[in-house]
Structures are given as C-alpha cells and as structure tokens.
C-alpha cells in the first residue's frame, strides 16, 4: 500500500518579483516500509518535496496524498493534526528543544498525541534504548554530542509510531562515524518496525544505505531506481 502519493505537483515561490519554480511537475509514489533517498544537487527541489510530503507546505498545483487522503488543501490546523500522528521529522540541524531533556524531547510528540504517563514512559525508554541513549535520558541537548542529539531526534520522530519519517540531510552536520551510526539506526528501525523512511541527501555514503533512489534536478525527477523495493 502506498503511504504517500505525489501527483503532478508544482511549487512556485514568489520572492519579491522573481518567480522561482522549486518543483515543476513531480509525480511519485512511496510504498509502506520503503527506505528511500531523494538525491540531487542543492536547489534541485529535495527539501521542497519533503516539506510537501510532510504537510509543512502546500503545493502550488497538483495533489499530495498521505495514506490515501488528499492533504493539498488542508488548512494550517488540519495540517498540524496530520503531521502529529502520521509523520515524523528529522532535520539537518539537531532540532531538539534546548530547554527539554532527551527524555522530554521524545515525550513531546507523545504528549501532543494524548498518550498516558505510563505509555509515554515505556515508549520513551524503549526508543532511547533503541538509539543507544537510555543512560542519557536526563541530559539536555547541550550536554549531548551532535550524533547523540540526532539519535534523540530519530527517537522523537519515531515516538508516536508514525507511518512515515522524513529526514532532511540527517547526517550533513555529523562526522563519518556518527553519520554512519545514525544511518544504521535508521536502517535497523526501518527493518524492525516497518516504518517508511524518506530522506534527502547528497552524501554518496548515505545514498548507499537506500534501497530506492529518486534523483531530482531542477525541480523534476530524472531518475527513479528501485521503486517499491523494501529489502
């Protein structure tokens, strides 16, 4: 079953009087459980595509479907609702809330999704264990290394059991070892839990982890290898 479908989507930005076409008509379908890389040079439209799939932004034309539901014309609150339980995000910068501990950062989406205290605790500890940070639960982001912060972000993205996790250049700010560690954790969680991962990158080492590679250039998909491949 497809978790998301992009149907002839364009995204045009108007910056001053200049019109920039970030996406020029992209059609793409991603199946449940995929581990897919969006690749392409800077400005090719990877991030824009992730934002559209992630209901952070709306297409200028065309349709975006999540679990079969058209999300292209949802209002701000409806998009927030859609993101909350269905989509997890991992950003290039280590996007943790600095005033909250690792534990509390992972807890945030669970709170927003109405989990009980017991459910939250079990889920958080399970995830922190999965990313190897159970003993750092009470540390705040500034007491964690970049790699550790990104692993907390992975745990947070997974917390509410979303259908889809979107990662925008997840290893770009990490050294090779930490980058590999984060990618291995993501791969393992994909295999163990079956959650779909879509990540944007231009790092060849990261691309190697992907089972499907979608290449963008100038707002168009120019190559699409391994569609539907899960293992």
């Amino acid at each position: 079953m497809e978790v998301t479908k992009i149907d002839n989507v364009t995204r045009v930005y108007n910056i001053g009087k200049v019109e920039t076409k970030a996406l020029r008509g992209v059609t793409l379908s991603i199946e449940n459980g995929e581990f897919t890389a969006l690749v392409g040079p800077s400005g090719s439209g990877k991030t824009t595509l992730l934002q559209l799939i992630g209901c952070l932004d709306q297409p200028s034309s065309g349709h975006v479907y999540i679990n079969g539901k058209d999300v292209s014309s949802l209002n701000r609150n409806q998009r927030a609702d859609m993101r909350r339980g269905t989509i997890g995000f991992i950003f290039q910068f280590f996007a943790l809330i600095p005033t909250l501990s690792a534990y509390e950062n992972v807890e945030m989406p669970l709170l927003l999704n109405g989990y009980t205290a017991k459910e939250r605790h079990d889920r958080i500890m399970e995830l922190l264990k999965a990313v190897g940070l159970a003993d750092r639960a009470n540390n705040r982001p500034d007491q964690l290394s970049g790699g550790e912060q990104q692993r907390v972000a992975v745990a947070r993205a997974l917390a509410p059991k979303p259908a889809l996790i979107l990662a925008d250049e997840p290893t770009a700010n990490l050294d090779t070892t930490n980058g590999a560690q984060v990618m291995e954790i993501m791969t393992r969680l994909n295999q163990e839990t079956g959650v779909t991962f879509v990540f944007a990158t231009h790092d060849p080492r990261v691309i190697n982890y992907a089972r499907r590679v979608v290449t963008l250039r100038d707002g168009l998909i120019i190559e699409n290898n391994g569609a539907g491949k899960k293992d």
Binding site: R76, A80, R84, F91, A95, I97, L100, M108, L112
Partner: protein, 405 residues
C-alpha cells in the same frame, strides 16, 4: 497544561537576567501604583479626618442667615443662648460632644509685625477642644474665665517670633462693624501639625470672645462630633428646625471631596501611563524571545503542535512573568508603603485655608486598592503577551524552520 508551564518556566530560565528585569519592570510598575494609591488615600483620609476634628466637626448647627464666608457677627446671624442649644443637641444619643463656638476675624500685632487671623471663641472645658489641648507645645491651655490670655499656633508664633508670656495686640471685628483692639498675653502655643491651621487660628475663651466682639450670649455655631461618622445624615435629619441650618461635614467640605474625585481621575491617567510602560517592556521581551526561538517554533509546529498551543506556551510565559512581577511589586510596594505609613512623607507646610493637609502624609493602603491594582497589573501583563504570542502561533512552519536559530 502543566507541561506548557514547565516549558514556559524553563524558557524564561534561559535568559534569567532578562526575565528577572522584565518581571522587575512589572513589579516596579505595580509598586509605584500601590504607593501612589496609598499616598492619595492617606492624604485624603487624613485631610478629612483632621478637618472634621479641627474645623468642621461632623456637623454644625447655625442660624438660618449665617454665612460662613462673611464671618458675620450680627446678632440675627448668630445663635442665641448657644449653651442651651448645645445641650439640646448633646441629648441626642449618637452625639459625642456638642459645643458652641464663636468665629471672628482680626489681626495680631506685635511691635513691628502683624498678621491676619481668625479667632475661635471656644469653651475650654469641652471635650471637642481636646485636639487643640493635646497639641499644646508650651504654656497652658485656656481657662473659661481668663480675660487676658489667648492661644496661638506654633506656625504663627514662629512667624512673629512670639513666646509664652509675650504681649500682643489683637484687633477684632465686632458685631456693630467696628474694630476693637485689646492687649492679650500668650498663655500657650499649640500645634496641630497642620501649618495652614496653626498659622492663622488663635483661640480665646468663648466668654471673652463674646465680650470683645459685643455678641453676649451668642455663638456662630454649635460644633458637633458624633460617636460614629455613619450617623451624620440621620442626626442632620433629626436636628432639622425652622430656626437653624444644619450642615453635615460633607456639605461643609465639598471642596475636599471634589478635589479627591478630581485627584482620582488624574491618578487613573497616571495608572494608565505606568501600565503602558510596563506593557511595552513585556511586549519587547517576548517579541525578542519569539524571534530568538523562531526555529524552535518551527520544530514544535513540525511535530504537530497547533497554533493554539504555541499561543498558549507564550501566554504561559507572560503569565509567569506577570506572577513574578506581581509578587515583586507587592514586596517592593509593601516595603515602601510600610516605611511611609510609619515615618510619613514630609510635604512641609502646604495647607490652604479650608483644606487641612497635614505637614506629613502617612500612606494608607486599602485592601480594595491592593486587589484592584494587582489584578490590573496582572491583566495588562497578560494582554501585553498576547501580541507576541499571536505572532509566534501564526508562523508558517516552513519559514520558521528556515530561520538561523
């Protein structure tokens, strides 16, 4: 909800100094409001209290045609057999004390100086005159049969360089329109702590005042103090008579009450200004905070936090600042007011005839002022947080995530 406040509390803790000074701004605003309110309250209640005690009483009974502004001494404008009338008034249960007084105008002269005065002819034995008796600075109080002595206020004594035992010459208007001049000896110097009163008022025994003004067995007024201020209106009604006018302290002191109303409206304007300044500090702090945390707002939004929750988060911050500020304000304001309630605030001799403003104002904070001003400050601080909070809640996640921090 608790989580929201926990986050808000930690967010304020990120920049402790800034949060502290913002709360302090709220606190100083509130402290200032409380101090001004207590000052005004203290001033007016003591003015009214002194005026009643020293000048107007709770009520006065006068002849129908008596005009206070003219200090008339014509027999038809005065009360005949004042002791008898005073005794009748005193027989009413709510009346504490009732005593005849004769008012006249004149001037005191020494060898080289003179000063205009009003003369109070009083019954030295009456308890109504205790405030003057208690305020004796030197010498002794009058006796009923003293024919050559008078009391003068400290302010006047200082002005004319007089002391106990000095001779002065007192010129007084009389009932037939002449001026009579007689020598007097200063028996005592009193002080009511109100320069405007002490500088112009001299006391004579009633009998002597009647003699010199040629108003035998007459008085200008029956001065009445009640056991309870609240019974004034009832007693005024009970004393109604075709021969007399009965004036309540409110009627006699209309100007003070009007001044109070006017002062209160000016003060409200000042409250608004202080609160507006406080609000702008809070708005500024929170807007800075919103800008610094733009990317975090984007993250919260990305993980599904709705605009209303983000709004709630920032409102929680402003309400915590408001709580902190109000606590600081109550402490600072309370300390300042406690000091001025005990030691007073000296405004020296600012008394105007007719309005008895004490030389020292003691602040007086009422529960009503405290509650009203505290709530006002709290609400204004919350409202000030609204704009930055709305700003944060309306951010587009895509744009927020693109921010530098």
């Amino acid at each position: 909800m608790i989580q929201l406040f926990k986050m808000a509390f930690r967010d304020l803790g990120r920049n402790r100094r800034r949060s502290f000074f913002s709360a302090l701004a709220v606190g100083m605003g509130l402290a200032l409001l409380l101090l001004v309110a207590a000052f005004i309250q203290g001033e007016f209640s003591s003015t009214i209290d002194s005026t009643i005690r020293l000048q107007s009483g709770h009520l006065q009974v006068r002849a129908k045609s008596y005009d206070e502004s003219k200090t008339s001494l014509k027999w038809e404008d005065l009360i005949e057999n004042p002791d008898q009338v005073a005794a009748q008034v005193a027989s009413l249960a709510p009346v504490k004390v009732s005593t005849p007084r004769l008012y006249a105008s004149g001037f005191v002269s020494t060898v080289d100086e003179s000063s205009g005065v009003r003369i109070f002819g009083i019954d030295p034995q009456s308890a109504a005159n205790d405030p003057y008796r208690d305020g004796m600075v030197s010498g002794s109080f009058l006796t009923a049969d003293d024919r050559e002595g008078l009391l003068i206020g400290q302010t006047l004594a200082d002005k004319l360089g007089l002391k106990i035992g000095d001779q002065i010459s007192l010129s007084v208007n009389t009932s037939n329109g002449d001026v009579d001049e007689q020598p007097f000896t200063i028996r005592g110097i009193y002080s009511t702590q109100i320069g405007g009163f002490d500088g112009i008022t001299v006391f004579l025994p009633l009998a002597k005042a009647q003699t010199i003004t040629q108003t035998e067995n007459h008085a200008s007024t029956i001065f009445v103090l009640l056991k309870d201020n609240a019974q004034t209106d009832a007693v005024v009604v009970a004393l109604q008579s075709p021969d007399y006018q009965v004036l309540s302290w409110q009627k006699m002191n209309e100007i003070i009450l009007q001044t109070e109303t006017m002062a209160n409206s000016y003060i409200s304007l000042m409250y608004l200004i202080v609160l507006a300044i406080t609000a702008s500090v809070i708005i500024n702090t929170l807007i800075m905070s919103v800008y610094e945390r733009t990317r975090e707002i984007g993250i919260l939004s990305a993980i599904g936090m709705k605009g209303s929750r983000i709004l709630g988060l920032f409102l929680a911050e402003s309400s915590l600042l408001a709580v902190g500020g109000v606590i600081l304000g109550l402490i600072l304001g309370g300390l300042a007011i406690a000091y001025f309630t005990k030691y007073g605030f000296s405004i020296a001799n600012m008394g105007v005839t007719g309005i008895l403003i004490g030389n020292t104002i003691y602040t007086q904070l009422t529960m009503k002022d405290t509650v009203t001003l505290t709530i006002m400050t709290f609400v204004v601080t919350l409202l000030a947080g609204l704009y930055p909070a709305v700003m944060a809640s309306r951010m587009e996640p895509v744009e927020a995530l693109r921010a530098e921090k």
